[in-house]
C-alpha cells in the first residue's frame, strides 16, 4: 500500500479519480465539479445583472435571457449548491462519526457520476439548440408549450442527476445509522453529521416527487402523453404541487447542512461547546418535518382558496420558531466564549444578520395575504438570495476555509480569505438589499428588461454593481486556492488549534483508511475531551487489526455514461425523420444495464490491509 503515497503520473491520477470509491476522493470530485458549475452559474448571474444594468438594455435577447435565468437557477441549486454540500458531507461526515468510509462506497461513486453526467447533459443544451427557458420551476403550461429541446434537456438532465442525489442521501443515512464509532450515540454526534443525517432523510422523501414529475414531463414532451395538457384533460397545477412538494424540502436540504457547518464553526472559534445541543438537534428535526408541510406557500396566488392558503400560511410562519431557536443558540454559544475572528468565523458571524434578514422576509412572504403583493416580484428574489446566498453560499465558503486543511493538508491563506469575505459580503448586500424595494416598487421577477420612467433605474444599477463585487470575491478565492496549492505547506492534525470533533484528531489529509483503529467516543466533542485530559490523540476502541477495503471500480462511470447516451436517444427519437434516436436510446440502456449485470455477476470482495502494513505506515510517520 505504500505505493499509494508515491507520486503518480497524470494518467494514473486521472484513472484513480475515475474509479475511486474513497469518500475523500469523491469529495474532491464533488468540489471540483460543483465548483465548476458554481462558476458557470455565477457567470450566468452576471449576464442577468449586465442585462438589467439599465432600462431597455439589449446585452442579451429576450429569449436568451429566459434561458440564462433558467440555467442560473437550475445550475446553482442542483449542480452547485447540492454537490458542494454533498462534497463536504463526503469529506467530513465519515470522519466525524469515526467511520472508515460510507456504507456503500460503490454507490457513492455511482451517485457522483450520475450527478456529473446529468449536469453535463443539462449544460450541453447551450451548444445543442438552446437551453431550457421556462424558469428553474419549469411550470407546466409554459414548459409544455416550448418548442425545441431545451425543456427535454432539463427533464432528462435533472432526472439523471436526481438519481445520483437520491443515492447519496440513502448512502449517508445508512452510514450514520450503522457505522458510528463505538460510543458515538446519536446525541453525541457533531451537528454537521446530524444535519447531514436529517438532510439525507429529506432527500429520501423529497426527491421521489421530483422524479415522478420529471417522468410525467418527459412522457408529455417525448412520448405524447397529456398529463399537463389542460385541453386534453390534464392539469398544470399538478406540476406546481409536485415541483414544490420537492422544491420546498429541497431548500431545507440545502440550508440544514449549512446550519451544521456554522454550528461547528461557532463552537470551534468560540472555544465553547455548542449552546443547547439537544434543542439544536430538536430544531433541526422540526425544521425538516415542517419543511414538508409548507410547499403550497409557493402557490398562494395560484388560487387554492382561503382555507388552504390559511393553513399553509400558518405552517410556514411556524418554521420561524425552530429557526429562531437556532439563531439564539448560536449567539449564546459565542456568549462567554473566546472568539477568534478567523475567515470561517467571519463568514459565520456575517451569516447571522444576513440570514435573519432573509428569515424576516420569509415570515412576511409566509403571510399569504401580503404575499399576493410580494409573489413573483423582486422581493422574492431578494428573500431567497438572502437565505440561499446569505445561508448556504456563506456556509460553503466558511466550510471550504475550515476544512480545506483537513481535505488537502494545506491552509488557505487567511488574508486572501478575508479579502474574499469583504468583497463578497459587501457585494451580496449591495446586490440583494435594494431588490426588496425593487419588488415593492412593482418590478416582477424574470423580466428581461424594464422600461425607463417607472422608477426602477437606480435600484437595478446598484444591484448590478454589487454582483460584480461578488464575482471579484469569488476570483480572489480561486486565486487563494491556486496560491495555496503552489506553496504546498503541510499542516498537522489540528491546524486551527481549537478542533473539537473527531476529524481534527487524525492527520490532514487522513490516510485512505481514515482510522488505523476506530476511536472510542466518550462524549460530545470527542477530540476536545481528549485534549482537555492532556492526550494528543484519540483513544482507540479496538486493537490493531486487518482493515477490509473496497476495490476501485470503473463500473459507476459506465452506468452513468450509459444513461447519458440513452438520454440523447430519448430526446431525439421523436424528431421529424429521426432514425438514430431509438437505437441510441437502446444502446445507452444496454450499456447501463450491462454494467449493472457485470457488477452483479463479478465477485468483488475487496482487499485487506494487513496489520503489519499499518505498523509500517506508522514507522514512516503516517500517524493515525
Amino acid at each position: 500500500m505504500s505505493t499509494m503515497a508515491q507520486k503518480k503520473g497524470f494518467g494514473a491520477v486521472l484513472w484513480e479519480y475515475l474509479t475511486t470509491v474513497d469518500h475523500k476522493k469523491i469529495a474532491h470530485l464533488y468540489l471540483i465539479a460543483g465548483g465548476f458549475f458554481f462558476i458557470v452559474g455565477g457567470i450566468e448571474a452576471l449576464i442577468i445583472r449586465i442585462q438589467l444594468l439599465k432600462p431597455n438594455n439589449d446585452f442579451v435577447s429576450a429569449g436568451l435571457f429566459n434561458e440564462v435565468i433558467t440555467m442560473h437557477g437550475t445550475t446553482m441549486i442542483f449542480l452547485a449548491a447540492m454537490p458542494l454540500l454533498l462534497g463536504f458531507m463526503n469529506a467530513v461526515m465519515p470522519l466525524q462519526i469515526g467511520a472508515r468510509d460510507v456504507a456503500f462506497p460503490f454507490l457513492n461513486s455511482l451517485g457522483f457520476w450520475l450527478f456529473f453526467f446529468g449536469g453535463v447533459f443539462l449544460n450541453l443544451s447551450w451548444f445543442m439548440g438552446g437551453a431550457p427557458n421556462a424558469g428553474w420551476t419549469s411550470y407546466a403550461s409554459l414548459s409544455i408549450a416550448q418548442e425545441g429541446h431545451g425543456i427535454d434537456f432539463y427533464a432528462l438532465g435533472l432526472q439523471i442527476s436526481g438519481f445520483g442525489t437520491l443515492m447519496g442521501g440513502i448512502n449517508f443515512l445508512v452510514t450514520i445509522i450503522n457505522m458510528r464509532a463505538p460510543g458515538m450515540t446519536y446525541m453525541r454526534m457533531p451537528l454537521f453529521s446530524w444535519t447531514t443525517f436529517v438532510a439525507s432523510a429529506m432527500i429520501l422523501f423529497a426527491f421521489p416527487p421530483l422524479t415522478v414529475a420529471l417522468f410525467l414531463m418527459t412522457f408529455d414532451r417525448m412520448f405524447g402523453a397529456n398529463f399537463f395538457d389542460a385541453a386534453m384533460g390534464g392539469n398544470t397545477i399538478i406540476w406546481e404541487h409536485f415541483f414544490w412538494i420537492f422544491g420546498h424540502p429541497e431548500v431545507y436540504i440545502l440550508i440544514l447542512p449549512a446550519f451544521g457547518i456554522f454550528s461547528e464553526i461557532f463552537a470551534i472559534f468560540s472555544r465553547k461547546r455548542l449552546f443547547g445541543y439537544s434543542s439544536m438537534v430538536f430544531a433541526t428535526v422540526l425544521i425538516a418535518f415542517l419543511g414538508f408541510m409548507v410547499w403550497a406557500h409557493h402557490m398562494f396566488t395560484t388560487g387554492l382558496g382561503p382555507v388552504a392558503n390559511a393553513i399553509f400560511s400558518v405552517s410556514t410562519m411556524a418554521i420561524a420558531v425552530p429557526t429562531g431557536i437556532k439563531i439564539f443558540n448560536w449567539l449564546f454559544t459565542m456568549w462567554g466564549g473566546s472568539i477568534k475572528l478567523t475567515t470561517p468565523m467571519l463568514w459565520a458571524i456575517a451569516f447571522i444578520p444576513s440570514f435573519i434578514m432573509g428569515g424576516v422576509t420569509g415570515v412576511m412572504l409566509g403571510s399569504a395575504s401580503q404575499d399576493f403583493q410580494y409573489h413573483d416580484t423582486y422581493f422574492v428574489i431578494a428573500h431567497f438570495h438572502y437565505v440561499i446566498v446569505g445561508g448556504v453560499v456563506f456556509a460553503l465558503f466558511a466550510g471550504a476555509h475550515l476544512w480545506w486543511p483537513k481535505m488537502f493538508g494545506q491552509m488557505l491563506n487567511e488574508t486572501l480569505g478575508k479579502i474574499t469575505f469583504v468583497l463578497f459580503f459587501v457585494g451580496f448586500h449591495m446586490t440583494f438589499f435594494i431588490q426588496h424595494f425593487l419588488g415593492l416598487w412593482g418590478m416582477p421577477r424574470r423580466i428581461f428588461t424594464f422600461l425607463p420612467g417607472q422608477g426602477l433605474e437606480t435600484g437595478n444599477f446598484i444591484s448590478s454593481i454589487g454582483a460584480f463585487l461578488m464575482g471579484a470575491g469569488t476570483i480572489v478565492f480561486l486565486l487563494n486556492v491556486v496560491i495555496t496549492a503552489v506553496k504546498n505547506e503541510k499542516v498537522g492534525n489540528d491546524p486551527w488549534g481549537d478542533g473539537r470533533t473527531i476529524e481534527w484528531g487524525i492527520p490532514s489529509p487522513p490516510p485512505f483508511y481514515n482510522f488505523k483503529q476506530l476511536p472510542l467516543v466518550r462524549g460530545i466533542d470527542t477530540y476536545w475531551i481528549e485534549k482537555m485530559e492532556g492526550r494528543k490523540e484519540l483513544v482507540p476502541a479496538e486493537p490493531l487489526g486487518d482493515i477490509h477495503m473496497p476495490n476501485n471500480s470503473f463500473i459507476p462511470f459506465m452506468i452513468s455514461l450509459g444513461l447519458f447516451i440513452a438520454a440523447f436517444g430519448a430526446m431525439h427519437h421523436g424528431d421529424q425523420g429521426n432514425t438514430w434516436g431509438l437505437p441510441v436510446l437502446i444502446a445507452g440502456l444496454v450499456i447501463t444495464f450491462g454494467s449493472m449485470l457485470t457488477r452483479s455477476l463479478k465477485d468483488d470482495h475487496g482487499y485487506h490491509i494487513h496489520k503489519e502494513e499499518l505498523i509500517d505506515d506508522e514507522d514512516k510517520g503516517v500517524r493515525a
Binding site: A62, G63, N66, G135, Y139, S141, L142, I237, R271, K272, R273, F275, G276, S278, S279, T301, T302, G303, G305, P306, A310, S313, V314, M317, V321, G324, I325, F328, N329, F332, M334, G337, S338, I339, K340, I352, P353, I356, V360, V363, M364, S367, S369, Q370, D371, F372, Q373, D376, T377, L440, W441, G442, P444, R445, R446, F448, L451, Q454, G455, M532
Partner: protein
C-alpha cells in the same frame, strides 16, 4: 359556522392588533418618539416608488390592507432584529479572544431556551390572526354569485383573459369587451374572473392590490377597489403587469388601468354599447386604411365591442378603442410613429408575439393608411 369563526377572529384581531397597535403608537408619541417616527416616514416616502406602480403607495382597499399588514409585520420584525442585534454586538465586543484561557463549557439553559421558544410562538400567532382574517376578506367574492332577475350580478364583474402578450377585458353584464386598457369605476368593488388562453400568466395591479394567477384550466376570482383620490393623483391611470413568466415578452406584457368616477364609467359603457357595427372611416386616408384592415387584419382583430364571438376565435386584441389607448402594444407611447413602428415589425418590439409573420410586408403608404384608420378608432368622441 364559517361566519362565526370569521367574526370571532375579527373581534380578536381588533382587540389585540389594530387597537393594540394604535395604543402602542400613542405611547410612542408620549415618549417623544414621534419625531423619530416622522423621520422614518420621511425615509420611507423617499423610497416608496411611483404612485401608479408601487405597492408602497396603496391606491385601493386591497393594497391598503396588504400595506398595513406589511407595516405591522415590519415593526415587529424590527423589534426582533433589535434584540438579536443587541446580543450580537455585545458578543462581538465583549467576548473576543484576549488570552489563551479556556472558557467555561456551558451545556445550555432551559430557562433561556424556553423564553426564545415561547416568545416566537406568540409572535407567530400575532401575525397569523390578521393574516387569516385578511385572507378570508380578500377571498370574499360572494357578490359574484348573487344574480338578479335578469341573471346578472349587481356588482361590476370583469372577465380577464390573459394571452401571449396581451390582455382582454370583458364586461359580461354590460355586453362589451375591450383590450389592453382596463376601464373601471372608482370607489366600488370590482370583481374579476381570471383565466389564461395559452400559458399561465398572472394579473397584477401593484398600486391597487395583490396579484392572482390566470390559470389555463380554471377560473380564479378576486376583487379590487380603486380609490378615487389616489386615482386623481395619477391622472386616473394605474399600471398593470403580468407577474408569471410566460415567454420572451413576459417583461413587456403590461396593461393600463383607467379608474374613473362611476358616472364617467357609465358614459363610457354607453358609448361602447352604441357601437354596433364597425365605424366607417371618414377621411380618405383612413378609408384606405380600413380597406387594408378589412382584408388583412379583421380575421383576428375585432372593431366592435360586442362579445358575441366565441373565446377561441378572439385571437387578438379588440381594437374598438385603439385611438384612445394609453400605449401602443402596452408599452410604447401612443403616437402615430409608434403605431407604424409596431405594424412594420412587431417582432423587434415584442419578441415571440403571435402577430409577427401573419401578414405580408407593409409599404410606407399602407402603414400611413392603417395608422390613420386605427388612430381614428374611438368611442368617446373628441
Amino acid at each position: 359556522m364559517k361566519e362565526f369563526i370569521h367574526n370571532f377572529f375579527v373581534t380578536i384581531y381588533k382587540k389585540f392588533t389594530k387597537e393594540g397597535f394604535d395604543e402602542v403608537m400613542k405611547r410612542f408619541a408620549k415618549w417623544r418618539l414621534a419625531s423619530l417616527l416622522a423621520f422614518a416616514a420621511l425615509i420611507l416616502s423617499a423610497c416608496s416608488g411611483h404612485p401608479y406602480l408601487s405597492t408602497l403607495q396603496p391606491a385601493g382597499e386591497v393594497a391598503q390592507k396588504q400595506y398595513d399588514l406589511m407595516v405591522f409585520t415590519t415593526w415587529i420584525m424590527f423589534g426582533v432584529m433589535a434584540v438579536v442585534g443587541i446580543i450580537f454586538v455585545i458578543v462581538l465586543v465583549k467576548f473576543r479572544r484576549k488570552d489563551d484561557k479556556i472558557p467555561k463549557q456551558v451545556e445550555g439553559s432551559h430557562t433561556l431556551e424556553i423564553i426564545w421558544t415561547v416568545i416566537p410562538i406568540l409572535l407567530v400567532l400575532v401575525f397569523a390572526i390578521p393574516t387569516v382574517i385578511q385572507l378570508f376578506d380578500l377571498a370574499d367574492v360572494k357578490a359574484m354569485d348573487k344574480k338578479n332577475e335578469e341573471g346578472k350580478t349587481d356588482a361590476l364583474v370583469v372577465n380577464v383573459r390573459a394571452n401571449l402578450y396581451w390582455w382582454e377585458f370583458e364586461y359580461p353584464n354590460e355586453g362589451i369587451l375591450t383590450s389592453q386598457d382596463l376601464v373601471v369605476p372608482t370607489d366600488e368593488k370590482v370583481y374579476f374572473n381570471l383565466i389564461a388562453s395559452d400559458v399561465k400568466h398572472s394579473f397584477w395591479i401593484p398600486a391597487v392590490g395583490g396579484k392572482m394567477d390566470t390559470n389555463t384550466e380554471n377560473t380564479n376570482r378576486m376583487w379590487l377597489k380603486f380609490d378615487s383620490e389616489k386615482a386623481d393623483d395619477v391622472n386616473n391611470i394605474f399600471y398593470g403587469k403580468c407577474a408569471e413568466l410566460c415567454g420572451p415578452s413576459h417583461a413587456l406584457m403590461d396593461f393600463k388601468v383607467k379608474a374613473i368616477p362611476r358616472a364617467e364609467f357609465d358614459q363610457w359603457v354607453g358609448n361602447m354599447q352604441a357601437v354596433k357595427e364597425p365605424v366607417q372611416a371618414t377621411e380618405p386616408l383612413a378609408q384606405q386604411g380600413q380597406e387594408i384592415f378589412n382584408q388583412s387584419c379583421i380575421g383576428c382583430h375585432a372593431v366592435t365591442p360586442a362579445n358575441t364571438t366565441p373565446e377561441a376565435a378572439r385571437l387578438a386584441p379588440n381594437l374598438t378603442t385603439f385611438g384612445e389607448r394609453e400605449k401602443v402594444a402596452g408599452i410604447l407611447d401612443h403616437t402615430e410613429e409608434n403605431v407604424k413602428k409596431w405594424l412594420a415589425d412587431p417582432e423587434t418590439i415584442k419578441p415571440g408575439n403571435k402577430m409577427s409573420g401573419t401578414y405580408g410586408e407593409l409599404t410606407p403608404e399602407q402603414l400611413d393608411a392603417l395608422t390613420a384608420y386605427l388612430m381614428g378608432l374611438k368611442v368617446q368622441g373628441e
